[in-house]
């Protein structure tokens, strides 16, 4: 092949362009720490990276939801434990109120008052809020238009059969004492998402996995027994059995009776108290199991997240050591190329004439 002056220059420029192009590419990779600068650099890898990024965000969302639900469950568990502690106090009072006939009427009234105080404290725990939401509330977790609204309410039925809502059980107890034919009860105003076909969505639910949802607020009926329905102004309220029992204990003591006496079904106040305590223990254990399950799911997602991130990184991120070695290689090649061009191009026969 005949080599011409233009050939030499063209060839030099072409080679310079090739090496410079590669150098620039490596420089971009080193400055951004990414080996893929744009999707067309590696279409398949880019598509995978985009998929993993989307999946990673989703996993992150599930992890957040799990944390949120876990916190809520833990708070619910704490409240139920507190209620159980109060119930243990009630048990002591029941033993005191039934275990000795030596209690005079005044002392029985005092025990009755203590029972009412425990009940008031329990009610306060039932209406506890976490992050602005009632922890035991089914679907109606808050009522923005009525800040005073609570899912568990105290209702007094007077001797005429009329209902009045009051704020505390102590208040209700005072009213009952004034009107001998009246009684108080604690009712729950339930709301469920009956419209949904899926029963698992009867309460506020969140997604914790691909098409896997979990109730965020636990369904009250799963943990408390209801003893009947009371209709007030067209709304059905469910009587909370636990408080009916507490009312009966208080009423028995107030009227001078003994809590040791068995009722028509042959069961004593202590039997009922233990039954409530068993229910609460079961509920706490059940929530604990759920929290544990969420913990293990969270651990699983942590490892998924790490794996996905590692995969994404292996495709998207630059291998710094390798890229730097490659850069150095091309840099050296560029320098030697410049030296060669500089030494070849000035040479001419004219210099030797």
């Amino acid at each position: 092949m005949r080599i011409t002056t233009a050939y030499q220059y063209e060839r030099s420029v072409q080679t310079l362009q090739t090496v410079l192009g590669r150098l620039t590419q490596l420089q971009d990779q080193l400055s951004t720490l990414k080996q893929i600068q744009r999707p067309s650099d590696a279409p398949l890898d880019s598509a995978l990276v985009m998929n993993w990024k989307a999946y990673s965000t989703q996993v992150e969302r599930w992890q957040n939801n799990i944390k949120e639900v876990e916190n809520r469950y833990s708070y619910t568990e704490q409240n139920l434990t507190h209620i159980k502690d109060l119930m243990l106090n009630v048990r002591d009072l029941v033993i005191r109120g039934g275990g000795s006939d030596a209690l005079g009427p005044e002392e029985k009234i005092a025990v009755s008052r203590q029972l009412v105080q425990q009940a008031d404290e329990m009610l306060s725990s039932l209406n506890a809020k976490y992050a602005g939401r009632f922890v035991l509330a089914n679907a109606q977790v808050t009522k923005p238009e009525d800040p005073a609204w609570k899912p568990f309410k105290v209702l007094v039925q007077d001797s005429g059969g009329n209902f009045t809502f009051v704020d505390t059980i102590s208040q209700a107890e005072d009213m009952v004492q004034e009107d001998s034919g009246s009684k108080w009860m604690v009712v729950f105003e339930p709301k469920t998402f009956d419209e949904m076909n899926d029963p698992s969505r009867r309460s506020v639910s969140v997604e914790i996995g691909s098409n896997s949802i979990i109730p965020q607020v636990l369904a009250v009926e799963d943990y408390f027994k209801f003893s009947g329905v009371v209709n007030v102004d067209g709304i059905n309220y469910h009587r909370v059995d636990m408080f009916d029992k507490l009312y009966n204990f208080s009423e028995t003591l107030r009227s001078g009776g003994s809590l040791a006496a068995a009722d028509s079904s042959g069961r004593t106040a202590l039997d009922y108290t233990d039954e409530i305590l068993d229910g609460l223990t079961d509920a706490i254990a059940s929530i604990g199991a759920r929290v544990q399950r969420l913990n293990s799911l969270d651990d699983f997602y942590k490892s998924v997240s790490t794996n996905v991130e590692a995969l994404r990184s292996s495709y998207e991120d630059a291998d710094l050591a390798r890229t730097y070695v490659e850069y150095t290689k091309f840099h050296t090649s560029y320098q030697s190329l410049l030296r060669v061009i500089a030494s070849i191009t000035p040479m001419s026969l004219v210099d030797y004439l």
Partner: protein, 540 residues
Amino acid sequence: MIWSLEIAKRSLQAQMLALDVTSHNIANVNTPGYSRQEAVFRPTQPYGIVSWLGSINPGQVGTGVQISNIRRLRNDFVDMNYRNVTSEGSYYSAKDQIYGILESSINEIKDSGLQKALISFFDAWHEGSVSPEDPTVRRIIVGQSQNLIDAFKYVQNQLVSTRSDVDFQLVNSVARINDIGKEVAKLNEQISLSVSEGQQPNDLLDQRDSLLDELSQYVNIQKVVLPTGSVSVFIGGLSFVDDRKVNEIKAIDNDRITNTGGNYEYTEGLSTYNVLPGLIVDGKWNGNVTLGAEDVYNGHVATLWITMGNSIVPLDERHLTSGKLKGLVEMRDDVIAYGDEPGRGLLAKINEMAYYFFSKVNLMLKEGKDIEGNPYSSDFFAWNSLVPSHNIIPAVTLDPAVVSDPTKLPLGITGLPGDGSLALLIAQEQNNALETVPEVLNSTQWNPTLPGFLKGQSVSQCWRTLIAEWSSDISRNRAFMEGTNNVKNELMLLRTSESGVNLDEEAVNLIRFQKGYAMAARIVSVVDGMLDLIINMGAR
């Protein structure tokens, strides 16, 4: 003896002329498109001498040298291949350049863009399912929905504005092509005049070849050399330069071509051009651009035609097989706007994608209730129903009632404050195929006839697929471009090897012709001496 002086004179002239050619070569060592020239030495006509020595015939006597021709060293075969490859390379380069612009503005590998907007959109609805009664969350959902619309609009604007730029490039390219055609026709005239006078117009031929090289960047050309030295240039079989006449290419806005009862015509000033019948199919130029009506995305775009007297013929994919023009047309109409194949028709596809996704979300939200329990009957993503599905993005807005009061956003089916069931269903659409009937709808309410590219994919997957197909196309185009450029570079080197000037070679020639000249001068000196001897013989 006197004749020897004549031979020496002829040699002096020939060496001088050869030296001129060498100087011309050296002077043009860096001139692009210059072809090395070579003085071809040929002995002049000899004469036979009459023998006075009986029957012996010593033969003919030479009469010296002359330059028979100044040869231009050029290889037509390499030229033809070089132009073909240039045309191919320009096609891929034009596409690569536009792909580059688009890819830098729609770079989905970075943590921005439509993919990010879709992720944030679904994440906001997820949050809505967790805390539906939270006014901040509702604001975030509205904000992310607006962000999603903006992201769609950004992509649409980038595509539409790039399409305008491509159209502008197309019109400018046509102007340059016509200029080249006129220059070639003018050179044809000068060359044929020189040839008719028996001259070899090497530099004019170089100029014409350079113009043809440039022309081959724009379009695929075929060259036919006429006996007069002129060339005729064809573009995909259509005559562009016919000796000294140019059939101009016209870039005419599609809406300026009028349909006159099945025939098409175009009026420019006082001239009316008729489109040769039977060449337009379905009223579209090149199968994509509708004639006599507004273009869906850009209002109007240039269509290409070649004139034939009072008629015009569409210069489309039937004739454009390579070159920048083909690349520009393909990018503008096929890749960006209307194409069906994978990685093509981005504008149409992204609009269809938005249309079906927004329609589905709208239908789902109509099954919900706002925070006060009121049914939601508006379109959350609103647009004028007259807008076609393949161009809804510019028309989409968010329901103003929800924007001003997010409590009206239906996040649940019951409308109770804690009910985020509908928000959850919408969040789950992140992975649900668009044709899947959501829990809140039935198959009568949602039974879309999806285009093939959307089937079996969620909106996010569809966008990722589009990007993957598109980037594969870019990558493939780049590979072809690099391959073609390598061949082009090799051919250029081959051409340089054949036609380029080597300064060392020319330096050797300089010495060669200088020595030849010196020796011829020496002959004059010797003959002069001999003549002097004879002339002064009697004087002694």
